[in-house]
Symmetry: C2
Subunit: 94 residues, 2 copies
């Protein structure tokens, strides 16, 4: 796998292979708490000047979003395709 | 672009091309408020039974995370590579 060209599908699968069993056992509500903890750390990093920490917090929020999607049987690529990759999607607001 | 094989880099660039000028003008604090609004909508969707809405809210949180990364000059692929795609990364906790 070329890290620079990793697809959303590949990364979501990697998070699944590495963590999904534990994540499913924890369940969505507790996993959401972990996700929000990382969102809080991202807010702290956005307020600071540590670029390496900022990159890490973006990565962690991204990974936990993948986890939440995995344990809720959501394929992020399909979700993004439906909302953002259709013909004419560029005219939609986010 | 094949939507099913879209890379993280391609999607972040698409969000940049579509929204970054507006997003930069808004700035990080106000953009974070929008991001959190979407996180709240994801929480609501996780509590509900509407699968299409759940997919949409995952897509929106993902897109707004890309926006926050764009206006803070963070390449999500590089951030993920540093934290999750290194040799031995599988032994790290999230």
């Amino acid at each position: 796998m070329n890290a620079q060209n990793i697809t959303i599908k590949q990364f979501q699968k990697l998070i699944s292979e590495r963590y999904e069993a534990t994540d499913r056992a924890r369940g969505t509500p507790k996993t959401f708490l972990w996700f929000i903890e990382e969102v809080g750390e991202l807010a702290t990093a956005l307020n600071g000047n540590d670029r390496a920490n900022l990159r890490e917090e973006f990565a962690d929020v991204f990974a936990w979003l993948c986890t939440l999607a995995n344990i809720n049987d959501v394929d992020l690529t399909e979700a993004l395709a439906e909302k953002y990759l259709q013909e004419g999607a560029s005219k939609q607001p986010k």
